[in-house]
């Protein structure tokens, strides 16, 4: 048990050291604090994106879902591919526009393209409202792990408190650079921890093949859709794919990681790296399925991995892997807290309260909002119960709605602010209605987020086709940006673009 506490202590101290080291490299500008002066290199980008994207949702939720609902979580393989593809296709364009027009937040881009102040606020509000529950589940997940790894010595409320205390300190001092550097450690721990836990535990059942064979005999419904409960069929398969990938991709924490990138080249490689990393889910398959055979009666499925580890692995190893799980939670939470504070500071404080704020003042407000929002998430973690995957998906369904106006902004000159606004309102309203009114629950088996995106896209396209933008200047500025982007990265498209330009 002492070993467990020691490992957890080390796990908590290392990021602090890294954070202070990162702080020593920083310059005192807000751009450095929020997006590292657009100079983040390849290794940091990959690890911080991957570790931020892989959260407790991936680490605990995946095991829990394989354990309770069968193979539906395998759709994660495809959603990792989709996430990677979007990081290239959408991310590179967002990065390019960000560099060109000096954006730091998601609202900067959407507010600028749609040239509409209300839309800007709606975007900031959606990001804040839907990121907080997702942040809350990170804290819940991380605190579970610490509670179990310490053998119950550290209670849940205290675990969650230490967790946040540490994040706040190193983000406070080091900004996004500290987050990215600690994410390198967390990312590596998380990847190997997930994989290794599964391989180790499945040894008790004669390795992977032995495990699958005995599952086929004892609980064959775990190997096919719709799973043992009969509820996780195609509807859920497709919904998870769409909502998780798009929702996480549109989260402000990932968005900042598009702006922060140093070179456009890197976006070409990211889909491969992000796609490949999905192999770690095989660890969850093995752990979750081993749980079905070895520990069939666990009440809270989110705790299946910690329980299996403490029971079947040597204590030091178990603690190390649990620390990796806490890393998953921590690496997402730190980025989310940082991203939320960025939005509050730049989109709300600087824009509306104090437009002439000095760089020092902006960073200071950023730090204060860090503390405030962490506190809100902490209180929520203690008071709002729920299963990680369910809360996670509901929150992701909200942020996912931003993909429609974003794709519009980077690729379609007709995209109209009124369309973006009504699309978002329609999409978010659909998500909330289906989530909170039981009578509407998941029509045809598809999640609220999928319906939200459908309503959102239809409204967006129809209204954009119907209306015409009057702010030619803005449209033209973005046309030029798109043209230059293609000239640089897709020269084969240029002939077309010239024709389009002539026709304008």
């Amino acid at each position: 048990m002492t070993v467990g506490v020691l490992i957890i202590a080390a796990f908590m101290i290392i990021p602090l050291v890294v954070g202070f080291f990162a702080a020593s490299k920083s310059t005192k500008t807000s751009e450095d604090f929020f997006i590292q002066g657009r100079g983040m290199g390849a290794v940091a980008v990959f690890f911080t994106v991957a570790a931020t994207w892989w959260s407790s949702f991936a680490f605990l939720g995946s095991n829990a879902t394989f354990y309770t609902s069968g193979p539906v979580y395998l759709t994660a393989l495809a959603w990792n591919l989709l996430f990677g593809f979007m990081y290239y296709w959408v991310g590179k364009r967002v990065w390019y526009l960000g560099k060109r027009f000096n954006y730091i937040t998601p609202s900067d881009l959407l507010g600028d393209f749609y040239n509409n102040e209300k839309l800007r606020m709606v975007v900031a509000a959606i990001l804040l409202i839907f990121t907080i529950p997702y942040l809350q589940i990170q804290l819940t997940g991380g605190a579970y792990l610490i509670e179990v790894a310490s053998g119950g010595v550290i209670p849940f409320w205290f675990a969650a408190l230490i967790f946040y205390f540490i994040i706040v300190i190193y983000v406070w001092v080091g900004g996004i650079r500290a987050v990215a550097w600690t994410d390198i450690i967390y990312g590596a721990l998380l990847f190997f921890g997930m994989l290794f836990a599964g391989i180790y535990i499945s040894q008790y059942l004669g390795g992977p093949t032995g495990l699958f064979k005995s599952l086929l005999e004892n609980s064959p419904e775990h190997l096919t859709l719709p799973g043992p409960l009969g509820t996780s069929g195609y509807g859920q398969w497709f919904s998870l794919f769409i909502v998780t990938a798009i929702g996480a991709f549109m989260g402000p924490q990932i968005w900042l990681r598009m702006y922060a990138v140093k070179s456009g080249k890197l976006f070409n490689l990211m889909p491969f790296l992000l796609g490949f990393a999905a192999i770690a889910y095989m660890g969850s398959v093995l752990t979750g399925f081993s749980g079905v055979l070895l520990e069939p009666d666990v009440a809270n499925a989110d705790q299946i991995l910690p329980i299996m580890l403490t029971k079947y692995a040597p204590f030091a190893l178990a603690s190390l892997i649990l620390a990796a799980g806490a890393a998953a939670a921590m690496s997402t939470a730190n980025s989310q807290i940082h991203a939320i504070s960025t939005i509050v500071t730049l989109d709300i404080y600087q824009r509306y309260a104090n437009p002439n704020a000095s760089q020092d003042k902006i960073v200071k407000v950023g730090r204060i909002s860090l503390v405030v929002f962490s506190l809100i998430a902490y209180v929520m973690a203690l008071t709002v119960p729920g299963v990680l995957v369910t809360i996670g998906i509901a929150a992701l369904a909200g942020t996912a709605q931003l993909i429609v106006p974003t794709i519009g902004a980077i690729s379609w000159r007709r995209s109209h602010p009124t369309a973006a606004m009504w699309g978002l309102i329609g999409g978010v309203a659909t998500v909330l209605l289906i989530t909170f009114i039981p009578a509407f629950s998941a029509p045809l088996g598809f999640h609220a987020g999928v319906w939200g995106l459908l309503v959102n896209s239809i409204l967006f396209i129809l209204i954009s086709l119907k209306l015409k933008r009057t702010d030619e200047k803005v449209v033209k500025r973005f046309d030029e940006a798109r043209f230059d982007y293609n000239q640089e990265y897709h020269p084969e498209l240029i002939d077309d673009s010239i024709e389009t330009r002539k026709s304008i």
């Binding site: 393989l77 591919l81 794919f241 020269p491």
Partner: protein, 79 residues
Amino acid sequence: MLSKYPQMKKWLYSMLILVFLILETPFILMANAAEPFVLGLPFFLFWNLLWWLIGTILFFIAYLTDWGSKSVKAKSKSK
């Protein structure tokens, strides 16, 4: 308009679309079976891993060919 795209780009994007169609349309239900076991894995798991692997390899090829926009290479080198 499509004819202006380089062959490589067309091939890459068609293959990627194929991977997503196989994995995420109701077509996936045709592979929804525990048996036969392939390489020691239940069929459904094997099928998903297979197409995931193909997708990942496609991403690697995409990286090597600058996502089918070859001429970029020459350009960025000259910078």
